[in-house]
Each structure stands twice: as C-alpha cells, then as structure tokens.
C-alpha cells in the first residue's frame, strides 16, 4: 500500500493506494478534485501529473521546514544542529528515491525520526553517521530494528523498495 499525504491550508489529508495499480492515478485525481470541493480552497487540476507532483513536492517542503523548525532554540522540543543537519542530508536522499513523503518528529534533543504509517504497522527511520536505522512496529506482534550501512550502494535501493511497498 502506498500513502501520499498533503496539506491544504489547515487541513491534513492522506490517501492510501488500494491494490489495483491501474486505477491509482485516476483515483487520486478524483480524490484531489473532491478535496477541492470539500475545502474553501479550490483545486483545478490542470493535469493529473502536475497536480500530483505539486501535492508531493508540497508535502516534502513541509517536512523540510519542519526539520529546520526543530533546530530552533525556541522550539517546543528542539534538537541540536547536528541532528537537524543529518536529517536534512538524509531527507534529500529520500526525495531522490521518490518515497512517499514521511512525517517527522524530534526525539530526545538529538535526533529527527522519519515515520510512515502502513496498514501493517508503523515504520520509523533515523540517520546518523552513515547508518540508517529502521524500526518496524507492527499492529500486533514483535517489533524489529535493523541498521543499514549506506556505504553499501544496494541499501538505498532496498530501502526505497521497502518504503514504497
């Protein structure tokens, strides 16, 4: 299942792709059009492709802004600059992998955690010093955690397949 999330003004919406890949693009365009009528912000999709890329790039932009806000000393739960820099650096790689836009939260003043919600559970990811740590908490049953060394060129490919499953 693939989830795309986006913000429209003060609404936050997410759309999860069902199992039929061929109808996905059509479904999302229909969803986007229905969002337009549901909010007071009119959306007129000029084309499916440009609408989709706007939604996705807007979500990525919000993630980027949020990570930077965590490093502000006045932030409610701020992180140190190293944590924010590591997160931004890794986030740029995530963007190039075309993974669904994650959500983020700060942890312990020393890390930014990327999250994805799945029907099967939740995935958490953080990056530090060349290593990506992936944590999976299933809805039921045992959690697992794995450290992935980014110096192995196959790791990013595997990670992107996993995050887009």
């Amino acid at each position: 299942m693939m989830t795309t999330s986006a913000a429209f003004g003060n609404l936050h919406l997410s759309y999860t792709r069902g199992p039929t890949a061929s109808t996905w693009a059509k479904d999302v365009v229909r969803w986007v059009a229905s969002c337009g009528s549901a909010t007071d912000w009119s959306i007129v999709p000029a084309s499916a492709a440009s609408t989709l890329s706007t939604i996705v790039s807007q979500a990525y932009k919000y993630v980027y802004d949020l990570i930077r806000s965590f490093a502000q000393p006045a932030a409610t739960a701020c992180v140190d600059q190293q944590a924010a820099d590591d997160a931004i650096s890794f986030f740029n790689q995530l963007i190039s992998l075309n993974v669904p836009a994650p959500k983020v939260f700060p942890s312990g003043g020393e890390a930014v955690i990327f999250t994805w919600e799945r029907p099967s559970g939740r995935d958490y990811l953080h990056y530090e010093d060349g290593i990506v740590t992936l944590t999976h908490i299933p809805c039921k049953g045992d959690e697992w955690q794995i450290d992935l060394d980014l110096s192995d060129p196959t790791v990013l490919t595997s990670l992107s397949i996993y995050l887009r499953r």
């Binding site: 999330s5 003060n10 942890s107 020393e110 939740r122 958490y124 530090e128 944590t135 809805c139």
Partner: protein, 193 residues
C-alpha cells in the same frame, strides 16, 4: 504516594494533548506527543539513579480521576499561553493564537518493557508546582550506549508506547471558551489504531 516514588507498572497514566503543539498537521508525526527531553545530569540528578543517560516525558497519574487530569491539562495550556505565546500566523488567527487542551490518551506505566539490561524504564511520581498529580516517565540508558543507539532505543520505546495508547478521552470546551467550536472539532485519532 510521595515524590520520588515509583508508579507501579499496573497503574494508568495519561498524556495530555495540547493543540496545536501535538497535532499531526503538516507532516508532524503524532508520536511528537512523546517529546522525550534529555535530562541534565546536574539539575535532574535525582532521576538518573546512577545511569549515564536519562530522558523524560511528563504524564499525569490517573488514580486521582479523569476530571483531575482534565483540570491539569487546562492549566498546562493556560500556563504555556502565558509564558510562551504562540507566534501569530494567518493559520493561528482561526483559533485566536492560543493553545488549547483537547484531552488525553492513557497507557499503563508498565506498557513497554526494557529491551535488555542496557536500559531501564521507570515512572516517578513528581509533583511540580500546581501539578500535584505529575509524574515523569523516564528512560535511562547505560554509558556504553552511543548516540545512534540511544536514538534507536528511544525510537523503539516511543513506537511501542504509541501502540499501547488508548483513547482519546476528549475534553469538550464549553461555549464560553473563545473558539470552543474550533477546538472541539479538531480530530484526534482513536487508538489503538
């Protein structure tokens, strides 16, 4: 119960939801509700219990009843508005640039078991100022745990805590609260998912 006492694993504790700080809007993950803060080894020495690292999240004890938890949540939002006013924005104009308490999620103090003997989880009863029901949910880590592994362990605990949450127990603002309708209609995820 005395300050410094351990809350038993079988006791329920509550985590207050403050809008807009904790809401999963614009890509903020809902686990931000558990904003573990690193404790200071000097100022917060009493919580380290000879461990090298400690992180804490504030919770309320539910043994005093839900109304008391609501009362403390309202007071928390009030104090935060007074001490740290929200930056004004076109968005925040819709709710008067003020934080609001929305309710709480509950979990058992013993919801998450430590992974191994390099970590310890303990909830310490610790009244603070007007919050006489306050406790600190504390994660302690051993000296040998490096920075990345500290994050790894906190992430596991945060994820398992999220899975263990139930609620929300919603607080509905009365009509005489400014922007009551707006706050009462803010959606909160029903948990467990």
């Amino acid at each position: 119960m005395n300050p410094g006492d351990t809350i038993p694993n079988s006791e329920w504790v509550a985590r207050a939801v403050i809008f807009p700080t904790h809401l999963p809007q614009q890509q903020l993950s809902p686990e931000a509700l558990f904003d573990f803060r690193g404790l200071d080894p000097e100022k917060d020495a009493q919580f380290f219990a000879d461990w090298a690292h400690a992180y804490a999240v504030s919770v309320s004890c539910l043994h005093a009843g839900e109304d008391k938890v609501h009362k403390d949540g309202l007071e928390l939002a009030r104090q935060q508005n007074e001490n740290r006013p929200l930056p004004e924005s076109p968005e925040s104009a819709k709710f008067g640039h003020m934080r609001a308490y929305l309710g709480f999620y509950r979990f058992l103090a013993g919801a998450v078991a430590p992974l191994d003997n390099h970590e310890q989880i303990e909830t310490i009863f610790w009244p603070e100022g007007t919050f006489d029901n306050h406790a600190n949910y504390i994660v302690r880590l051993a000296e040998c745990v490096n920075r990345r592994d500290r994050t790894k362990r906190r992430t596991r605990i945060t994820g398992l805590l999220w899975r263990a949450l139930s609620g929300p127990v919603r607080y509905l603002h009365s009509d005489d609260t400014p922007h009551a309708n707006y706050f009462n209609e803010v959606p909160l995820d029903a948990l467990p998912a």
